[in-house]
Every structure is written in C-alpha cells, then in structure tokens.
C-alpha cells in the first residue's frame, strides 16, 4: 500500500462547557488512503464532526482544545503548523463541505463572489479568471444556466442547488482531500442520491480522497470503501464496507444496523432501537462507553476500556470489544433479552449485507 494522504494519530479534543470538560474525541487514530472514500459513522455527539473540524484546524476556540495527537499531511503535522501555513492548506489542499447548505453559504455575497475569492486567494487568479473559473465549476457540479446564475445570491437557490454550490466551492482549487460533513442530511431523499452520485463521480474524475461523515448507514453503504464507527469519541469498529455490513463485530455497529427500517424484512420483526441515551461525555461511563446500553455487557466492561483488536482471524479491520459478537461467545453475555436481540440482529445484518453487496 502507498503512503496514506492523511494520518490522524491519537487525537484528543476536549470542550469546556457549563457541565464540565467534555472529551469530544478521545484518542482517535485513522489513516486516509489516496483515492478512497472513508466513511465515519456515529450518533450525534460521537465526535465525528469534531474530528473533521480538528483536521481543518477549525475547532472553535476558546471552548475547544486539542489536547494531544498528530495530524500528518504530506510530511507535516497540521497541529504544529503555523496559522499562515494552515490557511494555505485549507481550501487549497483540504476542502470541506458542511451539513446545512442553507446556512453554510454567506447570504450577503453572490455565489460567484464566494467562489471567486477562493481561487483569487489560492490560485492567484485575476478577477476575470476567477469569475470564469466560478462559472466552469458551477457547470461541473450541474447547475443549469451557470453563467447566468453566478451573480445570484444563495437564497435564490434551492437546498440541493446550494449544496452543489458548496461542492463547487470546495472543489474549485482542486484539493487532494475533501471532507464532507453530513453533506446530504439536510436534503430531500431524491436530492441526497443526486449529491452522492455527484460526489462519487467527482472522486473518480479527480482521484480525490474523501472523508464522508454521516449517521446514515445507507449513505455509507452507497459511497464508502472503508468505514469507521465512532462511539463516545472513540473508534469502536473499523473495517471495509462489505465485511462490516455482512458481519458487524461490535455490539454498537450491530445495534445501528438493526435499527434501520427495512421494506423487505419480515413484518413481524420489531424494529429495535438501541436502548438508553447516548453517553453524556462530560461524565462518561466508566470502562467501555457503550456498556450501559450493551446487551452483551460483561462485568469487566464497567472497569476496563477495550482497546482496538483485529476483527477476525482473516485480518482487515479492528474492533474495540471484549465480546466476540459474531461467534457463539454470546454465552458469555447474560439473559434471554440478549439472545433474542442477537437472533434478530443477525437477521437484520444479513439483509443489510445483501443490499451492500448489491450496490457494489
């Protein structure tokens, strides 16, 4: 394998709030390979957005602080880089698109101005060049009548069109890495598919690497090669998309898969939510952060935090759990609830794997 384009090592980010210090990201490590789409999945508050902001150097200060870690990009540590150097990289090398296209574009500036200021800054375009480039980019992301619409203001575009504008803006300097933070969450379902298709096509054409942050497993199955599941600021499972959907090895991943409604599932089968609430990260549970909600909970889960271990003998991927979810080691877990849950869980995950395979 080649050198990864981006490598995050042992990243820890904390936020100071009224309730105390929140450990938003707690010892996160991952690598982004060239040309791949890496999905980061988790509930809100699991630290996935904070991770992306940390990579961009946009953790809101003074509330948020990066306590430790390294973000390696092209031989330099972004966390140690000067603000000036960071600004050179931001937008030019690593670009980002945000969740809500309604609020992420400046309502006071025309779309053309917002696109042009980027290339004028990074590519030293003249006003003329920048404008032409803006029109070209808008065309590329599929905005009809781009030459005419370049002087329009964001409020004159629909939600999907705005997200296209955001993408055009992010890609206008031809970055190596694109971070997409919930790019489709705020959009209608049909528009979601269009935007995902656009992202996939752009990745192919440009050979970009994409980090796709989402809580929507459908999006992950559709667009990602590799998936990272986060819970409570940590990675709980990491694997290639296929195996992950086929056979989740972490109770949380399994719970996530089970909670997706399926049109082809048995109608008698209950849709199962994961019990309990996401952890309050100002006062996280002891041991494994997931243990209060975990059907496989062991006594040691309350005390020890599981490290990342290989998912299975075949290699490929990691999980952070003492229990082997897939095998008969379920016996270690207690009670009828757990066994029932596993049974239905297996059915659901099997079905999910089928769709995942079909889509690839």
């Amino acid at each position: 394998m080649t050198q990864p384009v981006l490598e995050v090592r042992d990243l820890r980010v904390v936020f100071d709030t009224d309730d105390g210090t929140v450990r938003a990201v707690d010892g996160l490590s991952f690598a982004l390979e060239r040309g791949e789409t890496l999905g980061i999945v988790g509930e809100s508050g699991s630290g996935k957005s904070v991770t992306s902001l940390a990579v961009m150097g946009l953790i809101p200060r003074p509330a948020g602080r990066i306590v430790s870690g390294a973000i390696q990009y092209g031989g330099e540590d972004l966390l140690a880089a000067s603000p000036r150097r960071l600004r050179e990289i931001r937008g030019r090398r690593i670009a980002m698109i945000f969740q809500d296209p309604m609020t992420a574009l400046n309502p006071f500036l025309s779309v053309g101005e917002q696109l042009a200021e980027m290339t004028r800054l990074h590519l030293k375009h003249s006003a003329r060049q920048a404008r032409d480039h803006a029109v070209a980019m808008l065309e590329q992301v599929g905005i009809p009548g781009a030459a005419r619409r370049v002087d329009d203001y964001p409020h004159q575009f629909s939600g999907g069109m705005r997200q296209r504008v955001m993408i055009a803006m992010a890609l206008s300097c031809d970055p190596e890495i694109l971070i997409a933070d919930e790019p489709t969450t705020a959009l209608d379902v049909t528009i979601q598919a269009q935007i995902l298709e656009l992202l996939k096509q752009l990745r192919r054409d440009r050979g970009m690497s994409i980090i796709l942050i989402t809580h929507d497993l459908g999006v992950v199955a559709n667009a990602c090669q590799r998936v990272l599941v986060m819970y409570g600021g940590r990675i709980v499972e990491q694997a290639a998309a296929g195996p992950l959907f086929e056979q989740p090895r972490h109770p949380y991943t399994e719970g996530l898969l089970r909670s997706i409604p399926r049109w082809d599932g048995e109608s008698t089968q209950l849709l199962r939510a994961i019990d309990g609430q996401p952890p309050n990260m100002a006062h996280p549970p002891s041991g494994c952060a997931f243990h209060p909600r975990c059907p496989y909970q062991l006594p040691r889960c309350k005390v020890e935090t599981p490290g990342l271990t290989p998912r299975d003998a075949a290699g490929g991927g990691f999980k952070a759990c003492f229990v082997d979810v897939a095998s008969g080691a379920v016996a270690a877990a207690s009670g009828a609830v757990a066994s029932g849950a596993v049974a239905s869980g297996a059915a659901a995950s099997g079905a999910a794997a089928a769709t995942a395979a079909a889509k690839q």
């Binding site: 009224d18 019990d275 309990g276 609830v337």
Partner: protein
Amino acid sequence: MTQATNSAATDAGDSAQAAGRGPEASDKREWEALWEESRRIRGVSLWQDARRRLSRSFTARWSLRLLVAIVAVTVVTPLLPLQSPVKQDLKRRQFQPPNLRPVRLELPAAPSASPAGSAADPLETLWNRPSGLTRGMIRARLAVFGDWCVPSICGTDSLGRDVLSRILWGARVSLVVGIVASCVSLMIGVSYGAVAGYVGGWVDELMMRLVDILYSIPFIFVVIFLMTILGEPSLKKALFAYGIDQMVIFYLVIGALYWLTMARVVRGQVLSLRNEQFIEAARTIGAGTGRIVFRHIVPNVLSVVIVYLTLTIPSVMLFEAFLSFLGLGVSPPDVSLGLLINEGLQVITPVKTFSWLVVFPGLALTLTLFALNFLGDGLRDALDPRMKNR
C-alpha cells in the same frame, strides 16, 4: 402532564399483558424501562432557569442589589434624620461645599401646640406639602431624632438648601413618576397588544397599523407641545379644580406615550403562542383551557411584560429628568433629579463652579438608571428561552 404520560404507559403495558405472548412481554419490560428513564429526567422550569442565570450575571446581580438599596432609602426618606429639603437660608448657608458641620432643624418653639396645617406647623414650613403616610413618617422622625440631622455632606445650593436631602426627596418623585407612568403604559400596552393578538385578523391589522403610525411620530416633541398647552395658566387652574395637578398629567401623558413597544411585544407573544406547538401538545394530552392559559400563556407573556416593565421605568425616568431639566416637567416647589441638575447648572459661572450641585444629583440619577437598565437587560437575557444553557 405527568398523569397523562403515566396512563399512556400503563395502557401499553396492559395491552401487552393481555396479549400475553413472548415478544410483547419483553415489550412491556421495555416500556417500563422507558417510563423509568423518563421519570428520572427532571425539567428545569423557566423561572428556576432564569433565576440561575440572573444570579450568574455579575452586572444583573449588582444592579438588583443597588436597586433594592435605592428603593429602600427613598421609601424611608421621611424617616431619616435629614435636613429640610425646602428651608432656605440665604444669609449663612448659601453654596456651602460638602462638609460635616453639625446642623439642627429649626423647629418652632412648640410644634405640638400649633394646629395642623397652620403656618407654624413644621410639616408645612420645613417640608413640601407632605400628605397622609408621609406626614406620619415625618412625625415619627421628629419623635425619634428631634431636631438632630445629618450635616450637609453633599453641600448646599444657591438658596442654602441641603443637597442630600433634596436629592433623596427628588429621587422619590423621580421613582414614583417612573413607576406610576410605566404602570399606566403597561396597562394600555398589555390590553392593546393582547386584544390585537387574540382577536387577530383585520382588527389586529388595523391596530398594528395605528401603532406603526404612532411609532413614526417624534413623540417627545408632541409631548413638549402638549405640556406647553397644559401649562397655560388658565388651563392649569381649571384642571387643578378637578384635582388634576401637573404630576397626574405627567403620568397620563408619559404613560400614553410609552405603551407602543409593550403593545407590540405582547401582541407578538400572544399571536405566536396561539399557534405554538407546545400549546397543541398540551391540548393533545387533554389539558383544559384554564390550564393552558395559566400554565403556558400567562408565564410566557408575563416574562416579556416584566422585562419591558423594567426597561420602561428607566426610560420614563430619563424622560421626566429630561423634561424637568428643560423646565417643562416637574416644577418647584416639587423636586426631581432632573430639576436639581438643571438648578445646579444654572448657577455655574466662569468665575465659580459649584460642581457638587451637578455631580451628586447626576450621580444619583445615573446610578438609578444604570441599575434599572442592567437589571432589565439581565432579565431579558435570563428569561429569553432561546438563551437557555448559553
């Protein structure tokens, strides 16, 4: 609300039990777990939350303390051993700078002997036509302190009157004007806004158009024009015959001027609350109209009303001071802070400035306005639910 949720949970549990099959049994357990969990979540009421945030704001906390102190002092002013606010002494006590020289009230030989209301009654000569309760308080003060009084620690004015005493008596007038006129505006504003918001439709449209028009009138000038006309001596006499003196006119005119914002805010609140989802939610769980009005609408409107009341009082006081300063408001022998500052400024000459005549009343007015404004701001921030947890 608790009642409703409880019964819903029980219902679900009952039906699960009636079916009596495996999966439903585990359903019931889940329901119970959910119920258990929801019971553990404690809501923080708007008022508790507001109090917490108010007490956390440094300025609001100190403004409140200062305000309580100011109000307390002005309420008990007649009880305090102060010098006479009206007694003039052109010969010996003119323009004394702040000092600690002992002073005594010049009481007539036998105050108790002279009948009340006569020229010799100290209440008539040493105080400015006190009435009812104030008379009683002054009598109590005379009984306790006799003729002893606080020295002129704030100096004396051009007519030899004690500035400290005049400031406190003036502050009483200013505060009373502020509070009474604000309450007048409150009554007008709340009823106008509530009617407009509640009736809605074209009535609301018409009423709010009128408010818009009134808003764009430079009211201060109209009021000055009105005060000019009402100050016409013959008219003044006629009104006085009906028991309407200048202060009453003042309350009415200012009250009639400051209701616009209140009306708008209350109307907006009522209007939005009518369509609010939590009102719908309350209805769906079977809350009656009375409960909705008292539990949901009144507290929400009340909080805005309180905030705007605390913000109206200082602007009314400022307006009173402004008019009195221009010689169009409270007129002697009544005193108010604006009038005192004006008097102080009148006697400034290039040769001699009697700075204490301006500084002390100015300080008193500024501190009061300051405290009221900041308390209002603090309350607004504290009661604005959008600010929750910020």
